[in-house]
Amino acid sequence: MILVLALVMGILSRVTTERSAAGGYASSVGAKLLADTAVQLVQAQIDAATSGGTTVAWSSQPGLIRTFDEAGRPAKSFKLYSDGTMQVTGALNPAMEVDALKNWYASPGVFTDINSPVDANFDGTPDMWPILDPSAEGKVEGFEINSAPKGSYLGVNNPAPMPVRWLYVLEDGQVVAPDASSSGNLATISGASKDNPIVGRIAFWTDDETCKLNVNTASEGAYWDVPKFNTVGDQNLGIYQPVKNEFQGYPGHPAGVNLSTVFSGLASGGAATQYDEYYKIAPRIDPGGSLNLTRPATDALEPVKLDQDRLYADIDELIFDNSRNPGSSLKKEDIERGKFFLTAVSRAPEVNLFNLPRVVCWPIHTDVSRRSPFDKLIAFCGTLNGDPYYFQRKDKDSSTNDYQQVPRNKTLYSYLKELTSRPVPGFGGNLKSKFGADHGQVLTEIFDYIRNTNLNDLNFTDKTKQFAPGTGEAGVGMAEVVPIEIDDTRGFGRYVTFPEVAVWLICTADPDFADSNDPVTNRTLVTGKPLEKNTADGTKELRIEAALILDPFTPMHGSVPMHPDIEVTIDGLENWTIRGNEETQALNLGFPSLGRQVDADAGVYRFGPNSEWAGGKVNAGGNIGANWAFFQRQVRARNGGRLPKDANFSDSVDGSGVKNQQYPFVSEPVTVKVAASNPKVTLAGSTLTINVKQRTTGDTIQTIKLNFPSTTMPVPALPRPTAGASPLRAPAWSFQGSGAGAGYVYKDKGRLNTLDEKSNDAKLQPVIDRANDVIHSVVASEGTPRQTLDPRLLAMMKDVPSTVYESHPKSGTARMAHTVIADAGSGFGGYTTSSGNSGTFADFGAGKTYPFNYQPAPKLPFPVDAARVSGDWDNGIGNLADGGFLNEPDQGNLAALNSPSSGFGYAPPYYSGHNKVSTFSMTFTSPARIMPSPGMFGSLPTGFKRGLGWQTLLFRRQPTHPGYAASNGSFINNPDYLLMDLFWMPVVEPYAISEPLSTAGKINMNTQIIPFTYIRRDTGIYAALENERVISVPTADYNSVYKDAKRNFTDKVYRHPVNLAGTLKQFQQRFDNSDGTGLFAFRAAAEICDLHIIPDDATIDTSSRTTIDAGMAGYWASRGLTGDNSRERVYTTVYQRLTTKSNTYTVHFRAQSLRKRAGSAANTWDEGKDVITGDYRGSTVLERFVDSNNTAIPDFASNVSANLSLDSFYRWRMRSHRTFAP
């Protein structure tokens, strides 16, 4: 029997071993299940926080989600870490949270360090951290640990503790936080009993992945922007441009987020290759192309070849390159240290504050075959259950079709109207009440702006697929778009208007000069009737001709070539009279009536096919210049046939049959009798009606009524040949080619289309004799006293009333009483010697004219006080004048001379009035480059309907503005920048960084880590801002320093790196509520516009929001030459990289299965005595997403308050799961 017993014992002893092993297995399974509970708790918290429908805004940050109500107040705070109170009503104050952690290490029954390290290599010191390796401090930018509550826990004094509370789990599944009385080793767990014992505990903390740099989108940026100033730096921007696929240089592209903030040691070598190691890491970014903006952009420059590297599924994969070789530059330690700052899966939701889909700010053609692959992907990103959330365009030549015939555009327009009428969650108020009568107008402008973006997409080798390619070889109509009309509002299209119309008087004969007074040779005279001079009376006759000058302007000022196909007729000219001051009777000037403006008679004023302008010499908008309007113009037969029609009068430039060289707006020669000593003429114009028509459709685009008030002015004098010149050339006395006197060379050229008297250059442009001619204009203006009208408003009017035009202020006194611009490049050079400007854009002191050297441009015949104060005008591109422009999206520009070897001897790109378009091989036409973000809307006028000019969308922080009420020095109620929140620009290159409703790699502005506020991780913001520049131009540089028509370049620096620490102070002031808003967090990424991005040359006291405001107000006050587009540029590009919400979260957890010691109190856990049977640590990355194909998703655009809110369609998936088991 003893043997039997021994046998049984043997069997049993084995069973015991197995049982203990099995017990261990069960415990580990139990701990894993508990960990799942932690993850589910976090999911539930996030779900609860983000399902407030259209009336609750939310923002996420590490450890917390805050919600805000429609009045703009904090609503609730949802903790994403284990705590006794998981939800707080109102705003959670982080200071109180961190205060509770002071002595956490003394209560291991209550707290655990979720970042508690282990000693993986068994050398007695901890070397592996589950979340944050504190050795990153000093090696990673924007990261520091200050006054952490350190203490010995599990034998380690962790410099980066992340203590959170244990939540105890009872057998029935209840999760209970220890009672407040718990401390030390003892935790009192209410509800635990013998029957319902403690079986485990969990602790967790949730990180927000959007606070990290995404290794699949970030690389190392190279700053680039459209050049705007005559500095060497800006010249270099023109010369050294990012080429195709060089995303690191594209403004606002996520590739400009700097990985060097985390991996600081990888930069090496010269400027051209300095960041190649980062591009090696970045999966789709490669060096090449302009070599980090060091090689000139010419046609010969190769585009960057995209990397074909895989995208990273996990940051640990950084250790390998594509071929699975170890990356030479990064070591395990670097990655380990970087894991708190890097992610492979961050995504931010692209929903607005109403939690509804944003509208894409990129135009998509209704015809699918006219969509580039990028367009297709953008359209996909903006589609939800088949419903587009993007504007479509179909007809550039119609003012109505794109709205009336595209029902979806109507729906989206009303969607935006509805949203802007509702109280904005998180902010309160609504935009409608702010814009008042301009509510619809602003939306129409935005619609039109989007419609006018990307007019000549070079991704199409077949040009006819472009939206506004123009027709024929010469591309007539290129980039010409008819303004859209919606209800009683109107956009601006891309069209020409005339802010100034002038009459140009020339003298064709003078009795004092016999060579001009021979009716045989001077055919402007009446046959056999020379002019008379009566010395006794002191009178004489003068032969005079008049022509109308139209000064064209388009507010779309940028580098897209523009070639309008328009026809202009003028009614009322036939009544114009002139009277010499020695006459009683006014003489009719003999301008052609409207009825005579036909091909067979006076001719039609058309811009038809004109190869000279399309072949590499095209205009960039803005003040195009009257030369353009006069180009190659020919005059009808006049003077009873004595002046035969000009040789090419009936021709067209390219033989298309459309006569486009005619210029009907020329008077007959008339004889006026003036006082010889004080010759004056009185010009009496009747009301003119100028019709600007789309030539091919005949549709009237704009009707301008204007009066030339009866004005007495100096008389023109007869130009004389230059003394001693040989051969003696004709000074071209008439507009007509055949008007010059006999005996002169080149007599067959007229003043409209002549040879230059001095240089003998063949000119196809008018020659204005600045010493002898008289020009008198009326200009668009407003108010009393008159101010120069914001030309953007003029462009938006369909019918311009005659009250808009007022005589030029120098009218009647100066010979050159006008501000007509000759051409965009040379300004007034050909037209006047005296300044016609009396107004200023920038407040640079009394008595100083506008600084633009050589030409008193921009066109400011009257002052513009509002603009001076607000800066709501744009800096011109290159060396072009500043003015009231609309911030045209840039489509790239190359050197006009195509010679890579000679470089840019002619003019650097963007500095020539005649801009060269890039070719397909290295096309700049990248959506990312053209449209960095909805911040591009910043120059759209907001006061058109209310008659408030020089006031545009304000996407920046500015203490005062004439159009804005100051509220506590800020714009808390209905700031314009909330409009940006309604739009988004999907990032579709180099791959689909955006997807429907989300974009990868955006950085969360809410960097504060709750509850561990002593750990500061601003790395993401550093990375997003490091590569940005703040543009500021000191007022003192007005005098031909910052702009210079002659292309002189100074060493001035107007683009300043960001003072990161100072700028981030404002973040801290929000987080610690020292800004007094009570918000503790940012509600929308657009709020960046409410912060000062402080340049490094500003000396600012950053101690409070008030001091920063004051300091920056002072800084900007002395930088008055900075245009609106320049000031808002940094916000436009940074905005694209920022978010305040996340779709991706990492739950770091620790779960333990527990067993109470037999006989101990069931409701008390004793850390020292009770048994931990299983322990499980790790992290799970969660992503919330919407399946955009889900057929149950309603169309929110047509029903904002749909029963099923968008929130209800969010699902969860697990992007990765790590066990911390080193």
């Binding site: 043997l3 021994a6 046998l7 043997g10 084995r14 071993t17 203990s20 092993a21 261990g24 297995y25 415990s27 580990s28 701990a31 291991p108 508690s116 390290p117 282990v118 000693d119 993986a120 068994f122 007695g124 010191t125 901890p126 599990l154 034998g155 380690v156 931990i1172 049977t1173 299983g1174 322990d1175 499980y1176 640590r1177 066990t1219 911390f1220 088991a1221 080193p1222």
Partner: protein
């Protein structure tokens, strides 16, 4: 009733009984031995395998590294005679403590220490060293680790990750003895297998 005088057993009788008992014993004991499986070699293999499995469970379940230490036998003979598991202390992750008593192999068995019979020991991550074992003092040992994930820190070649238990007298031999127990660990998933001849 006539009182019968009972006679005592004869020697023959006794011898017969003893012979029968002996016979039974001879028949029964080997059977017993088979039944219990209790040869010391089997038990030794079992002990080592169980300790490995236990170590793995501890590592996975408690999410901590567990060291398997092979303890050098007493006396001058080569070979390891015991197994003990060590792990970081629950309240101090940097300090390692034993989590079990030393499991000694049955008398007469020992783990071979040479690289042919026990390449695991020869190539162990904790090379032969001396350490203080509670209740035993300074002792020579070597060992390897189970990772919290269930794997080990052993080399990637599964076929080399084993120890062999041999009889005392075979401890220093490198040719394969006729009785042994091989205990193999899979370095990736920590699975333990035992081989007997």
């Amino acid at each position: 009733m006539v009182a019968m005088r009972m006679r005592a057993f004869s020697l023959v009788e006794l011898l017969v009984v003893v012979a029968i008992i002996g016979l039974l014993a001879v028949l029964a004991i080997p059977a017993m031995n088979n039944i219990t499986g209790g040869t010391s070699m089997t038990r030794a293999g079992q002990i080592v395998a169980d300790q490995f499995a236990y170590a793995r469970q501890e590592a996975v379940g408690k999410n901590r590294e567990v060291q398997v230490r092979f303890v050098w036998r007493d006396g001058g003979q080569p070979g390891y005679a015991g197994v003990q598991l060590w792990a970081p202390a629950p309240n101090d992750v940097t300090s390692y403590r034993p989590i079990s008593r030393i499991s000694w192999l049955p008398d007469g068995t020992v783990m071979a220490s040479n690289s042919k019979m026990s390449p695991l020991i020869a190539g162990a991550s904790i090379r032969e060293t001396n350490g203080v074992f509670p209740g035993r003092g300074n002792t020579k040992y070597c060992g390897f680790r189970f990772r919290p994930g269930g794997g080990t820190d052993l080399g990637f070649d599964t076929t080399s990750n084993f120890v062999t238990v041999v009889r005392d007298r075979d401890a220093s031999k490198t040719d394969v003895p006729d009785n042994y127990a091989v205990i193999q660990v899979d370095q990736v998933n920590g699975r333990v297998r035992t081989y007997r001849p």
